[in-house]
């Protein structure tokens, strides 16, 4: 009986955290460099963008929607920022962030209007915007590439900045974003409404929750994070072409699901999404250290995702079985 009373959310994040620590330890054991300052810094750098996007998309998945356009938005944002910077050499990193944010918000608003306003299925809508944005990048960029010379030095410096010799600046932003978003998800009405809408959309309507507003806001948020993701991309790679960040949308969703944000909606946390992103990256690092071919990387991602979904399902089945057992007792 005790298992029913345990809140599912608590057990998921904690167990994930434990798995993460274990994986880090194991990877460090195989490859001692992993546990050094350098190794940690590399891990955090490579995770930063995916983690940021995972945090952005978590509220959407909690509301039983999906946003496939995130990766394309990152590419669009990165290229447009680079374009502005190349044409306005006086830009600083502040303007970069602003442009990125604005672009992301615009794409998010488009998604939000269609999904929340017209009540269209989010899979199809964001698939459509994925295409429009991706094609848009190609067309707008006209195969022009930008590299480090065109970037504002202040931006690149920021990208290189490391705190305490392990914490890269982008990941610091990720941590801040996680804390702020997690706080909002727990302590504000818009955040709580996301969970309610995802848990029982019908009842949410009946109770009078502002479904349109919350859904729209969630998509704008996801877009915004993707836009900032574009800035992250530039900070990390210092160059961009029209194929930037191509195809990463599913990796982000996978990080979320592994982190406990179930695709069925209604549960999961932003913190979990972050841990999910880190976990995936750590496991890959560990496998690389074991000499496993980098080519198996994607297979492992896929496998982890399936395992995560399976675990979700088992938990749900358990409470169903308990309810059934109760029914049986009643009927005696």
């Amino acid at each position: 009986m005790a298992t029913i009373f345990k809140s599912r959310q608590i057990s998921r994040e904690t167990s994930l955290g434990i798995i993460l620590i274990f994986s880090v330890g194991l990877t460090g054991f195989i490859n001692p460099r992993f546990l050094t300052g350098d190794g940690t810094r590399d891990l955090l750098t490579s995770t930063a963008t995916v983690a940021l996007l995972a945090i952005g998309i978590a509220p959407i998945i909690i509301m039983r929607h999906i946003d496939l356009s995130i990766a394309s938005t990152v590419g669009l944002s990165a290229w447009v920022i680079a374009d502005f910077c190349a044409k306005n050499p006086g830009f600083t990193w502040v303007q970069c962030f602003i442009i990125g944010g604005v672009i992301g918000i615009m794409v998010g608003a488009l998604n939000g209007l269609l999904v929340a306003g017209l009540r269209l299925p989010s899979l199809v809508v964001t698939l459509g915007t994925l295409y429009i944005v991706r094609g848009g990048v190609y067309v707008v960029s006209n195969s022009v590439d930008y590299n480090a010379q065109e970037m504002p030095p202040s931006l690149l410096n920021l990208g290189q900045k490391v705190f305490f010799s392990v914490l890269p600046f982008p990941f610091l932003l990720v941590i801040i974003a996680t804390i702020v978003t997690a706080w909002c998800m727990k302590y504000t009405k818009p955040g709580r409404d996301c969970y309610a809408i995802g848990s029982n959309p019908h009842a949410a309507d009946l109770v009078g929750l502002k479904v349109f507003r919350r859904t729209f806001l969630a998509f704008v948020f996801s877009g915004f994070m993707s836009g900032i993701g574009g800035v992250f991309y530039l900070m990390r790679f210092a160059q961009v072409d029209s194929t930037a960040f191509y195809g990463q949308e599913l990796a982000v969703v996978a990080a979320c699901v592994i982190g406990g944000v179930t695709i069925l909606g209604g549960s999961g946390t932003v913190t979990g999404a972050l841990i999910g992103a880190l976990l995936v990256q750590t496991i890959q690092g560990g496998l690389a250290a074991l000499g496993v071919d980098a080519f198996w990387k994607s297979a492992i991602n896929g496998f982890l995702l399936i395992v995560a979904i399976f675990a979700d399902r088992r938990l749900a089945a358990r409470s169903e079985r308990a309810l059934l057992a109760q029914r049986i007792r009643e009927r005696e």
């Binding site: 199809v124 698939l127 459509g128 295409y131 896929g302 496998f303 399976f310 399902r313």
Partner: protein, 329 residues
Amino acid sequence: MSVNTVDKTAKRRRFTFTWDTSILLLLLLVCVLASLTTDNFLSAINISQIFSNSSEILIIGFALTFLIITGEIDLSVASILALSSSLLGWSYSQGAPIWLAILIALAVGSLCGFFNGFLVTKVGLGSLAVTIGALALYRGIANGILGTNTVNEFPDFWTSFGFDTIGTSAIPKTLPAIIFLGIVFALLLHNTPFGRRTLAIGLSPEAARFAGINVVRHKIIVFTFTGFMSGVAGVVYTFRFSTAQADNGVGLELLVISACLLGGVSIFGGVGTMWGVVAGVLLAGSVESWLTLREINAQWRTIVTGLLLLISVAAPVLVGKYKAKAGKI
């Protein structure tokens, strides 16, 4: 993904029937405009090019249509294509006779499809999330098998089959096969009990149970079938380009799904026609061809596909709202 209210589906069906006629008209329109604004659009060479380039999308689309109609989805089809292609190349390069290599490719495709179906139906996992995982898993295995290697040496008979045309005409050898498949699948969907049951499951899985349909078994069959056809597409792709590599077909799954949706297959299930899907695929292909001939950046095609996709879902809703306002409902 399969949440639907009965009434919504009814409205969608009534309009979608008009939608797949609209798609055909749109296709016609595009062809007319293209032929007016370019020199070669209607040439035999060009038309056959359009078909060739759409081969894999059509092949997978034929099966995926059934799957979407039952209310499920499979995002791993392109990865199954890649895996089949890789295994085809790898086993051939290891000395297997070509027919065996082809069989292996097809068998693996079916197995992948079956695995997907098993996870979704028997274990009860949602198809969207599962096939996202499968997408990564299968391509990853393909990567693991071939790495960055490619296999380019294949028997001439097969590569020429993929590449050549019939006699001196411009008709690619693959075209009759695809047309044949198309007719078979259309008949299967619209004229057989199997097709009816597929539609029934999509319209109402619960009523399907009460109608004596073994929903689980049916879905597994459709999933396996989708995997098989993805394998076929993998074989065709490999021979068309004389290349087996793990990167084949990246992003193709979205092209197939959008073609199906464009063609009037409802994402909620229960609705769809095969000719709508064919029209959707050809429409996308024609637009690309038109752009290429006009030397416009072919990436406009991507934008147009996206726009059409949005229109295909938004239009019924907007039309419904307009009608309600005008008091006609």
